[in-house]
């Protein structure tokens, strides 16, 4: 049988292979998607340069520093298009069509399967631009990237990616009860778009909301702080904790939802 980790890794590799093959099956569609993604990106960059033009500062963040936040946000958007949206929308499809049964009958973790079967190339331009923007803006803000700084940033990006995943998965899980949850996911996206700007740019009450209730602060501001070398250890630990908590919560909620699942009977 081989060891379980090897089995999961091989499964993952083959899943992604088929996911890419599936996209390449429709060349024209893929080309259009990439063009759309690039056009979308150019549009939002133009808009933001208008916003931030004139050397204004935002909540104590200089223009280049704020651009690091935007870079993180763009990166997360790319991850959403590449990884989260394709996978989690299939959960809704599985529930509607009753094919979740096939997933549940495989000797593999159902959350793992549902979170990894799809991969879209559509978000890759955004991921590249987000990373580029982060590096460029940090340099502009006068930051010398040391290996330690890089490690911290990567760790915080990982934490924020996992947190974002957990939020998406939590919302997608509710489709077990409500079947159509696409609107809820749009609401989540709209709320998270607040992460475009540094958290300190918001009034105190909103700031509390975005830290304690909807963890927007941990998604973009904290990784940006790490990149700018201003992250304190308590915030770093807190961010890791929040990410782990999010994951644990998404897992527990999924297990709970499965107990209610009875599938569309024929």
């Amino acid at each position: 049988m081989g060891n379980p980790l090897g089995r999961y890794l091989l499964t993952l590799r083959r899943l992604w292979g088929t996911a890419l093959a599936m996209q390449l099956e429709y060349q024209a569609n893929l080309l259009l998607e990439v063009v759309a993604a690039i056009a979308n990106l150019i549009g939002s960059l133009l808009l933001l340069s208008l916003f931030y033009g004139g050397g204004r500062a935002l909540g104590g963040w200089s223009w280049p520093q704020a651009l690091v936040v935007l870079g993180v946000y763009t990166l997360l958007e790319g991850i959403t298009s590449t990884w989260l949206r394709p996978n989690l929308s299939t959960i809704v499809g599985h529930v509607q069509q009753g094919t979740l049964d096939f997933v549940l009958l495989k000797p593999i973790d159902s959350q793992f399967w549902l979170s990894t079967t799809r991969l879209s190339l559509m978000g890759l331009p955004e991921i590249a631009t987000g990373l580029g923007l982060m590096i460029w803006a940090a340099a502009k803000a006068g930051i010398r990237t040391t290996p330690w700084l890089l490690c911290q940033t990567l760790l915080m990006l990982l934490a924020s990616g996992l947190l974002l995943y957990s939020l998406w998965f939590l919302v997608a899980t509710t489709s077990i009860w409500f079947v159509k949850t696409w609107n809820a996911i749009e609401v989540l996206r709209a709320a998270l778009s607040a992460g475009r700007y540094p958290i300190s740019a918001y009034p105190a009450a909103v700031r509390t909301l975005f830290t304690m209730v909807l963890p927007v602060a941990f998604l973009t501001t904290v990784p940006a702080e790490a990149m700018l070398g201003r992250l304190t250890l308590p915030w770093l630990l807190l961010s890791l904790m929040v990410a782990c908590l999010g994951l644990a919560l998404s897992r527990a909620f999924w297990q709970f939802a499965l107990r209610f699942y009875t599938s569309a009977s024929s």
Partner: protein, 332 residues
């Protein structure tokens, strides 16, 4: 009958009750339902018990909504039973332990697991990884199964370009790659043409022979059941009505057989009544219903007494019998 081995499928007092939303029709009903949801309890399966020995092929019959699919879902672990116990291959299904899942498979005629846009081989490679089957072994198995299913290059073509029959065969292949011991098949021949049905049927018989797999099969096509299953379970309104051979079921449903006579000359109706119930008498063709236990005696009597040109004894078609049962809703 004393089983030599322990049963591979065991259901004991298996029951499932669903909560179903009760909604009145029309806009008013919809609005009321949106504001205040009301639910009814519907018993889909009630107190069903049976045992299946390893290697058996058992047909699972019943009209739509009788509880067949619900029972299959409880046995595969997709649904928790509301009451009772299920044991499959020594495992409690609803715990869905990996070692249990490796031993079973579920094929649903109206749902597919293979990826629509890709050749079946791609999906099969993923399944092989999931079940931890190495490349050499999975090639061997795919080749062997493809041969049994009479499949060639279809596995390399995108699924969407295959016919329904070819797709079903590919689905079967995918469902059997891990060589399960217990096969739950829910309408595996649904929508297939007669040739494709026959192909799937002979494959299942072949698979059962070769690997000694246990099969529990539901089908709307009685030909599937008569060809494959010496034993049938008949479920109606959630209750198990019959567990035994198909012949026994026919006997139970139809205590009489039909005797069709062609006579050399017309015969008075009254004297025909002495042999059995006269179903019809048109010119020289007479159809009689005669109780099974009196059949042999009645037939030899008929041959001795009447100018018989031709005589045919047959069972009323099983579809008709079961259909009649479900309309009447009772079984003595």
């Amino acid at each position: 009958m004393a089983p030599s081995t322990s049963p591979i499928i065991l259901a004991e007092g298996l029951s499932k009750t669903y909560r179903v939303a009760a909604k009145d029709p029309g806009l008013a009903g919809t609005l009321r339902h949106f504001v205040q949801r009301r639910y009814n309890d519907v018993a889909a399966v009630r107190d069903v018990s049976f045992q299946i020995q390893p290697g058996e092929m058992v047909g699972f019959l019943g009209p739509n909504g009788a509880g067949k699919t619900t029972t299959l879902k409880m046995l595969t672990g997709l649904i928790h039973p509301s009451a009772g116990k299920a044991l499959v291959a020594g495992y409690t299904p609803h715990r869905r332990q990996a070692n249990f899942l490796r031993r079973i498979t579920l094929v649903m005629g109206q749902k597919q697991q293979l990826l629509w846009d890709l050749p079946a081989l791609d999906s099969l490679r993923v399944n092989a990884a999931v079940y931890g089957i190495d490349d050499a072994e999975s090639h061997r198995r795919i080749h062997a199964l493809a041969e049994m299913l009479d499949m060639g290059n279809e596995l390399k073509r995108p699924l969407r370009k295959l016919s329904l029959g070819q797709r079903m065969k590919a689905e079967l292949l995918a469902a059997l790659l891990h060589r399960p011991e217990v096969l739950f098949l829910d309408e595996p021949t649904l929508g297939l043409d007669v040739n494709a049905q026959a192909r799937v049927r002979s494959f299942l018989a072949d698979y059962n022979q070769r690997f000694g797999a246990t099969v529990l099969l539901t089908s709307h096509y009685m030909a599937d059941i008569t060809a494959l299953c010496p034993r049938v379970l008949l479920i109606h309104e959630g209750r198990l009505f019959h567990d035994g051979s198909l012949e026994a079921l026919t006997q139970r449903l139809a205590p009489c057989r039909e005797v069709r006579l062609e006579l050399a000359e017309p015969w008075p109706l009254d004297s025909l009544r002495a042999y059995g119930e006269v179903e019809s008498c048109e010119g020289m063709v007479v159809r009689l219903l005669i109780r099974r236990d009196a059949l042999t005696a009645a037939v030899s009597q008929l041959l001795a007494d009447l100018p018989v040109r031709d005589l045919e004894v047959r069972d009323p078609p099983i579809e008709e019998l079961i259909g009649r049962l479900f309309v009447q809703g009772t079984l003595s």
